[in-house]
Symmetry: C2
DNA sequence: CACCTTAGAATGTATAGACATATAGCGCAA
DNA sequence: TTGCGCTATATGTCTATACATTCTAAGGTG
């Protein structure tokens, strides 16, 4: 595979940074020097450096120069698969069961719920994900009726609300917190395991612009589920 | 904030996709049409579309056109901070203690260890990360001496091997598995918690090209640590 | 010596054109 | 009708240039 020139410049600098030959905060050669080195036009050098900046590897300051980024705060790509797809891919039969559906006002003093509600009501949806009939994850979701009025009429008995939302509601931003907790009595009962069993807790909030759409807490059986994140060129 | 022209083109198309106005697999206007619409040169349009392609929002095929990407195979950006930096940022004092250092051959029949060793020996490094003296994570790391001979002479008593590796060894690819487990007796003892306490298990493997460099298993106290992943424009 | 002005340096954005290369569809021939 | 080759199309890469914007440092002034 012959790399194009701007790709070659990009990877040269990239490996110099990753190998430590270029230390964090260190200044890179300026564009005109790289033009000399690679015998090319400034736009080509610029394309390579802009790509590195977009990837967060370097920081460019107008008038000042280009600098290697802060300590390798290497960010990776986290795949967040749709549960039903993921389960099917492993050859199991996916199931979803809606446990509770409540239309309610935000809890008093719960700032997060009040922000999500935006002065109106919330739809609370509790459900259970399973693979081949075995419980796999408990999910507690809150949806803002202010942002998604249509969900009040949606049929959520068979389709998980996450899938319904993905298909019907555009969103622009999301944040996921991943941690580990011991299952409380209620969660353990639903997952049919002993209380205190380790669960992977995934908490996600979703926005469209500055408007909050939904927040969800998912408790995964630690032994049945894991997340994978990648860095690098090997893309599936 | 006045956007530059290529940024405006980029965000226009981005929001058309996110809002569903442009459906997945749908074909985008070709570059010459966008030149007409925005009254600009092809390079400007190209810059906008290339950025969208790099972000995975669209797919471009030479000779065929540009197409909206597959259904959001929702990938998010996972921040993988250096532990010492993360702890310091929260105002605690970070500590690292090397518990064991063994030079050994890969376990017979353990394919992963044999791949990592590459016919030579492995360096096993067990350590404990702490914040303000309180145990926070146990780490078991294997380093390939074939890939990183220099680590045999490194002083790893005070500096975590992860930090040392980041500073001295170039790597190009990494994969992280995140799951939840109950602490076994040994891990619980080191973390000074009851056996069975929920821990966040982070397993990471690192490559340079096709050569394996290191693999590590970190058991984090569930209550003391979490990971955050983001999708969207809000960049820190 | 402290402060301000200014010139140069470096990146940001954009243009117009050129050639390369992969794709898809059309028309022709078997 | 089927299959093949050609061509128009669309993106990929690169050049050379121009002007805008922002930062740094040098030098002059009080």
């Amino acid at each position: 595979m012959t790399l194009s020139l701007h790709e070659r410049i990009r990877t040269d600098i990239e490996s110099a940074i990753l190998s430590g030959k270029l230390a964090p905060e260190e200044r890179l050669p300026v564009e005109h020097e790289l033009m000399q080195v690679y015998q090319c036009s400034r736009m080509t050098v610029n394309k390579a450096l802009s790509a590195l900046a977009a990837a967060g590897l370097i920081e460019r300051r107008k008038g000042a120069g280009s600098f290697v980024g802060r300590p390798h705060a290497h960010s990776m790509i986290l795949d967040v698969p749709d549960l039903s797809v993921e389960v099917a891919k492993r050859g199991h039969v996916y199931g979803y069961q809606l446990l509770a559906r409540k239309l309610r006002v935000p809890a008093r003093g719960n700032a997060e719920e009040e922000l999500l509600a935006g002065g109106r009501r919330l739809l609370q949806l509790d459900g259970l994900h399973s693979a081949d009939g075995a419980p796999m994850a408990v999910e507690r979701r809150l949806v803002s009726l202010a942002a998604v009025p249509a969900i009040a009429d949606a049929d959520l008995e068979r389709e998980p609300p996450g899938t319904w939302l993905l298909r019907h509601v555009p969103w622009t931003e999301a944040e996921t917190r991943i941690s580990a907790v011991s299952a409380d009595a209620e969660t353990a009962r639903l997952l049919k395991v002993a209380a205190g069993t380790a669960c992977l807790l995934v908490e996600r909030q979703t926005w469209r612009g500055s408007e909050r759409i939904t927040s969800v807490r998912q408790y995964f059986l630690g032994t049945a589920y894991h997340l994978v994140a990648r860095f690098g060129s090997s893309r599936s």
